[in-house]
Symmetry: C2
Subunit: 287 residues, 2 copies
């Protein structure tokens, strides 16, 4: 399965960065961009992220070996319906979405036989949005999770993994259920809580905010529409994650009520010990 | 009130960084370090953070114009009792603690007449601990909150503010009650929640942690003993802050339960709008 012609469906930060990264690849790809904002597509073309563009998704995927869904998760369903009739037999479709159960299911249900869907979650991004912030090194050194299940074509899976590795990524595999459960804990919950931490502040607190507050809440500046889709799509797991956090808060509140110095130290010490083992600031921006 | 002789009581990250910053000052200070670990004091001396040291707090403050409490908040009381008989009339005592009501009260109660206490909270630091991580520019560009009240000597207040300004800080004044209330929201709550976010993760989640998780939880690696003291000292305000956060979580959980896309977007959008107005990454490390 050799990938020569590639469609990037949604040329924003993530889609644009794929195009820019492939420019320095030894292999030659022909990249077609699809989007509904002509100005964005023009910017992507001028940056060299795509070779041509169209505002017709069906046209964008015609003759493509690989099509990558790079829009917010909430648009995946209509987009898959649109492109399904245009994909050639043997084509591979993947995505960059942050949730995987629903898209893997849709890939199975909405794409024609002979077209292979492989779920991908390249864990790179930024609180910035738009192709203007696209970077050739956005994916370098970061982790890409692929989410095969029993119906996934092994050759298509390997081709998709090779593709992300070519962008400088490391890859790992998780089934879609485990992916969504673990990402609720390690990504969607932190985003929800960063937003909540911003929202509880009285106005007079902001001038006093230091680096700790800035770091803890940085991700809350992210695209609300994108995160709304992620939260909706993974709401069962996110609710479980929230209830686990609430238990920690209740426990802490009880220790404070009792002025229990030992319990407070155990709470803080166990967190500090775990946190200190986590590599600082993955992913690195250069190898 | 001219400050020539200075005592740094507790020569760790914060105390050591004061000493290093003063080396490049136009004025000459003689700096005495106090601590109970001889090795730490030796390191501080070799780094040039102090000119001499003693393991007797009473000796450390003798003839000093300014004494700065740089130990964890929980040790302030015995330390103030120890130094009280050694301070000369007209001497000023300040501190670098993260809570202010209790220390301002102790300063009033435990120090002899003629010795002036001024509460300070220089908002600089790091999740690192120890004099080895001290830096001459740690305070530069960051905010120092002083916490005067009706009994604070105006001349001593101005002298302490000038001192922090000489270290490159900006200063602002808050009464001790407002300080502790606002810092519970903007600093102690984020620390508590960062720790809770680490503690709810299953082991399999950590290899999937990206930059968002790393940033959101970075402060959880901080010194557990130091933060235990802060939490205990400000437990009433921290409990109120926790209950405000719990309300946000309950609201979010309800929106998820109802699959209420509009409510989720309003939640995320209001947080993103506020967060985008906060200057990124204060304090800057260079002016």
């Amino acid at each position: 399965m050799t990938i020569r012609r590639l469609s990037i469906l949604g040329v924003g930060l993530l889609g644009g960065s794929i195009g820019l990264a492939l420019r320095s690849s030894a292999k030659h790809y022909h990249i077609v961009g699809y989007g509904h904002r002509p100005r964005t597509l023009e910017v992507a073309l001028n940056m060299g992220a795509i070779h041509e563009y169209t505002s017709d998704a069906l046209v964008a995927v015609r003759e493509s070996d690989l099509a990558i869904l790079c829009t917010p998760v909430g648009i995946f369903e209509p987009l898959l319906r649109q492109i399904a009739p245009g994909l050639k037999s043997g084509a591979i479709v993947t995505d960059v979405g942050s949730t995987k159960r629903s898209v893997v299911k849709m890939g199975e249900q909405l794409l024609p036989p002979g077209v292979h869907f492989v779920g991908s979650h390249p864990m790179a991004g930024s609180e910035k949005r738009g192709v203007e912030f696209a970077r050739a090194d956005l994916y370098r050194g970061a982790l890409c999770i692929t989410t095969p299940w029993s119906r996934t074509d092994p050759g298509a899976l390997r081709a998709v993994e090779s593709f992300w590795i070519e962008l400088g990524m490391r890859t790992t595999r998780l089934n879609p259920d485990d992916h969504d459960r673990l990402l609720a804990d390690v990504s969607h919950l932190p985003h929800a809580i960063a937003a909540a931490l911003v929202k509880v502040q009285p106005d007079q607190a902001f001038p006093l905010a230091g680096k700790g507050f800035a770091d803890t809440t940085r991700i809350a500046a992210g695209d609300p529409g994108l995160w709304r889709d992620i939260f909706l799509d993974n709401r069962d797991n996110l609710r479980i994650a929230l209830s686990k956090l609430r238990q920690q808060i209740d426990h802490l509140d009880h220790s404070l009520e009792q002025a229990d110095a030992h319990a407070l130290e155990v709470f803080l010490d166990s967190a500090a010990k775990i946190r200190q083992t986590i590599k600082s600031n993955p992913p690195p921006t250069s190898p």
